[in-house]
């Protein structure tokens, strides 16, 4: 008897394709009756809304800074308002002819921010470099030297103020939050109680009232003749507020660290601070990256509340630009859409960056 020869079965294509755009649409949009129905409903909704929006925002829009053209019947969005007012919206009350200074200062700070987000910058010189950048920012903004006219802080405004407020408060709130979070888990009752009171007090009031107190009530308690700039007080207020929230997020991360990690560190002879610095915090912070970024994003938008104490950051500057000008006041929606776009650009970058950071810190978990 002869041995059987091996006859390989030739490869065939899968009967139903699962790759490519057509397959994607079939699987994800019309997978079964319910999904198919939902897809159709959503499509119908979009068809109802989108054409009108685009007709208003693009096809019937007036693009030139001419408010008479905007008032003609049938004209849609009036983007001329942005073209006309963008300098005030972006820079607030900062003296018109000196607006190159906030532009320069903010560009340098933004460049430093973007740099700091990359691995190459995570070195010991990052902190002194930031001190230099911040000093540069304040010097250029404030002036009073080398022929630069002095510009008091109450005239600072717009996007530079938004960026500076959020950057500074984030950078200061983060270390404070770490200390508070560790303090709430301290074995010393006095420290634990103090940290708990801090968190509960600050969380118990709205940011607006913190700002209000920082701006109007705080000076009443200062000795006569001593005054701290309102901008500084507001920065401290936002920082303390953000730190309380962030501390709770970090504490959540700390609690997720197994006790065995701390015991292992103890048996290796590590001190309390060494254990926190090398073992606990790196793991705890890695776990809460998405929540911390959540805090940062909401902090960035919360800076718009400083308008209440007469600091005109981006949102406040928009009001400033339009409220005082009867010709352009009717076109607030367009103005708000413009600054919404700016806010979105920043927040979206932050959330994308957060995803990258998560990947970086979770390397040990990759199998």
């Amino acid at each position: 008897m002869t041995a059987k020869t091996f006859e390989p079965i030739s490869a065939r294509q899968a009967p139903v394709s699962t790759e490519g755009p057509i397959a994607w649409v079939r699987i994800n949009l019309f997978g079964d009756i319910t999904t198919g129905l939902m897809t159709l409903i959503v499509l119908a909704g979009l068809l109802l809304v989108l054409p009108q929006f685009f007709s208003w925002a693009v096809f019937r829009a007036a693009w030139l800074p001419d408010y008479d053209a905007c008032r003609v019947d049938g004209v849609g969005a009036c983007w001329g308002v942005v073209a006309e007012k963008y300098r005030i919206i972006i820079f607030g009350r900062y003296p018109y002819e000196d607006q190159w200074r906030p532009l320069l200062a903010t560009s340098v700070m933004l460049a430093m921010l973007v740099g700091s987000c990359t691995r190459a910058f995570w070195k010991a010189w990052l902190i002194p470099a930031w001190i230099v950048v911040l000093a540069f920012f304040f010097a250029v903004m404030y002036g009073g030297f080398a022929g630069l006219e002095k510009v008091e802080t109450d005239r600072w405004g717009g996007l530079p103020l938004t960026i500076m407020l959020s950057t500074l408060s984030m950078m200061m709130a983060f270390p404070i939050a770490m200390v508070i979070a560790l303090g709430r888990r301290s074995s010393l009752p006095a420290i634990r109680t103090a940290c708990t009171i801090y968190v509960e007090l600050i969380r118990g009031v709205p940011l607006i009232s913190v700002l209000f107190m920082a701006s109007f009530m705080f000076p009443l308690f200062m000795p006569a003749g001593v005054s701290i700039d309102v901008l500084v007080r507001v920065i401290i207020g936002i920082t303390l507020f953000a730190a309380a929230y962030m501390a709770e997020v970090i504490r959540g991360g700390l609690q997720a660290i197994p006790k065995g990690q701390i015991e292992a560190a103890a048996t290796l002879g590590l001190s309390y601070w060494q254990t926190q610095y090398k073992i606990v915090l790196p793991q705890a912070l890695a776990m809460v990256v998405p929540s911390i970024m959540n805090n940062f994003i909401s902090l960035f938008k919360d800076t718009s509340l400083v308008t209440i104490v007469s600091l005109y950051e981006l949102t406040g500057a928009l009001g400033l630009a339009l409220n005082s000008d009867a010709n352009w006041r009717p076109f607030k929606i367009e103005g708000y859409l413009f600054i919404a776009l700016i806010y979105f650009a920043f927040c979206f970058s932050m959330s994308r960056y957060s995803i990258w950071v998560e990947k970086q810190v979770n390397k040990g978990k990759a199998r």
């Binding site: 065995g260 015991e263 002879g269 060494q274 793991q283």
Partner: protein
């Protein structure tokens, strides 16, 4: 016999007010002695060895480790921890550090050793537990047996006089237990004082100088392995042995 390296003197410990977990423990361990501690769960075995490096505090009695009495004095505790290595049931490796970084952490931060020297020392220990090729990986990328061997190497990096093992093989898949026990047997040949909480009776027979049986916070019986396994003196230990050696 030389001066004992560990002495428990009428040691008592409670969890809270009512749970009397260690009762009148008297025990002295000679330098280089290898002790296996067994007993039912909840009998206080782990608590007993965790007192030695003060992961647990006792309320009554004295505990002296290599001439240092363990008290609230932080310096004494630091002193003792430098001499005592510990291996846990759950390994407790640091997942965010590589294997090599796990080993060099303590020599560099506590012992102030330069990185190069610490690396060399760590690699030597990894060779010893036959896992040097995994030095650059993260703990979670290794099997359980490999992780436990890394944990042993990490403890050895302190050059400890005493090694504590808290059920080192209980969390392992059966086919990985042997590779860990092999490493421990080799260590036993090198004169280090070992206290090991385990139910691996084969290991106890092979390396232990003394087997201690605990129940309800007390030392019920202690003897050399041969006599303990073949001729237990106490009803309670007889019963326990018949259950774990039953099949």
């Amino acid at each position: 016999m030389a001066e004992p390296i560990i002495v428990f003197d009428k040691l008592n410990k409670w969890y809270g007010n009512n749970f009397h977990v260690l009762r009148d423990i008297d025990l002295s361990v000679a330098q280089g002695e290898r002790i296996v501690i067994c007993g039912p769960s909840g009998s206080g075995k782990s608590t007993l060895i965790r007192c030695i490096n003060r992961l647990e505090e006792h309320q009554e009695g004295r505990l002296v480790v290599d001439g240092v009495e363990l008290t609230d004095d932080v310096k004494a505790v630091d002193d003792v921890r430098k001499k005592v290595g510990m291996v846990f049931q759950q390994f407790n490796l640091f997942p965010h550090l590589t294997v090599l970084e796990n080993l060099t952490l303590s020599p560099m931060w506590v012992g102030k050793m330069p990185k190069k020297e610490a690396d060399a020392k760590a690699m030597a220990q990894l060779e010893r537990v036959r896992i040097a090729e995994q030095a650059g990986k993260y703990p979670l990328q290794l099997s359980g047996g490999q992780q436990q061997r890394v944990a042993i190497a990490r403890a050895l990096c302190l050059t400890p006089k005493i090694m504590l093992f808290d059920e080192p093989t209980s969390a392992l898949d059966p086919e990985m237990i042997k590779e860990v026990l092999d490493v421990m047997v080799e260590m036993a040949d090198q004169g280090i004082t070992m206290l090991c909480v385990t139910h691996e009776m084969g290991f106890a027979k092979a390396v232990a100088d003394r087997v201690i049986f605990m129940d309800q916070g007390q030392i019920v019986e202690q003897n050399n392995p041969h006599d303990f396994f073949n001729n237990p003196q106490n009803e309670r230990s007889k019963d326990f042995l018949s259950k774990i050696l039953g099949h």
